[in-house]
Symmetry: C2
Subunit: 219 residues, 2 copies
């Protein structure tokens, strides 16, 4: 049974509630958007994340307003969206997007110790796989200044559209090009900082990699 808040009502044929679909969208999306309410006012804030097994981790400065509100245990909604294609139909009405989006509801809680360190590593590796081992790890002071939250991924739903435009029968003979325009997020050549100008960028940053994490239009 899907709880009502998570059930996809519009176009239910696009709904997915299985773990594999939900996890893959969080894994492919570079960033997510976190929603919380203060009184009646909702706020939606972009951030990066990482998924480890059935948990989504978020992090930020201990001084961040968003993380402070979340630490208070308010209900949260975390949404990640990837746009794969613009879908071009013969009528304005049937224009659409091919996309993958996932919504996770729940209450986040702060983690410490080894789980915190593992989560920070997962977040770093989500954005730049291979980077963690090359750079200075966090100091005790930096760890204290950072807050890491865990959101269990047990209240989730995904919505996915794929495929060509769906035109009305009576529009099929209109002399209009139809199809999809694929969009992809690609990494360009790394740009070295002044002091690193003579160094070769590490292999994990080279654009010839098939894609970066979040490489398919992650948002």
């Amino acid at each position: 049974m899907i709880e009502e808040a998570l059930r996809v009502r519009r176009l239910p044929e696009r709904a997915h509630y299985d773990r594999a679909t939900v996890h893959s969208i969080f894994d492919d999306a570079l960033i997510c958007h976190v929603g919380f309410a203060q009184g009646e006012q909702p706020f939606v804030i972009p951030t990066i994340h990482a998924r480890v097994r059935d948990v989504l981790y978020l992090h930020g400065s201990r001084a961040s307003r968003t993380l402070g509100v979340l630490r208070d245990g308010v209900p949260v909604c975390v949404t990640a969206t990837i746009v794969d294609d613009v879908v071009l139909a013969r009528s304005v009405f049937h224009h659409s997007m091919n996309y993958r989006s996932v919504v996770a509801l729940g209450i986040a809680s702060e983690v410490e110790g080894m789980e915190k360190l593992r989560a920070l590593r997962a977040i770093a590796e989500h954005v730049a796989p291979g980077r963690w081992d090359d750079v200075r790890p966090p100091s005790e002071k930096e760890l204290r200044a950072t807050s890491v939250l865990r959101l269990p991924l047990d209240r989730v739903s995904a919505k996915v559209r794929t495929g060509p435009p769906k035109d009305d029968e009576e529009d099929l003979d209109l002399p209009v090009w139809t199809g999809v325009l694929p969009l992809r997020t690609v990494a360009l050549e790394p740009v070295a900082d002044e002091r690193a100008a003579g160094m070769k960028a590490p292999a994990y940053l080279r654009p010839e990699r098939e894609s970066i994490r979040g490489g398919r239009g992650g948002s």
Copy 2:
């Protein structure tokens, strides 16, 4: 005076409240995320949008849950985010992203008549500039099935990071490559629908265009 809900408190040097910055982020972002609360539970839903002067337009099926809630006049938060670069520092702690994000708060209201039609055109052209004039315009029935909402852009703030990593003084001699990895959303070759297989894709869809709207990692 910036109202408290909109004031950027963390890293206020990244804050922008001017119209030009706010507008350009909404214009460059392909999609946005709409936040609203039902009781204590926030929801964050992806959608496309268009900005016309000082107004942001959203649209969807009249049957959509999100649009139904918004039509009831609840407070809303619309956020658009563009990731420009991954920022790679010498320490894990100073890793960051170069990004542009904008938050708009307010109450949305439904529009009809000429404003509705102009808004639908602006939304279509936001995604695929040049497309509207090529395809069948909306019928009366399609217009009735579609809801268009306006959100005045008078309660807004933007947050922008640009530039290289900011390492700690004592890390500057670590033998680590540092710099930024630029991310861009690009359009690939259009893929024709079966029935349009013999037709040439219109010029406005060709990837040699410098970028599509939202072409810089819009999310």
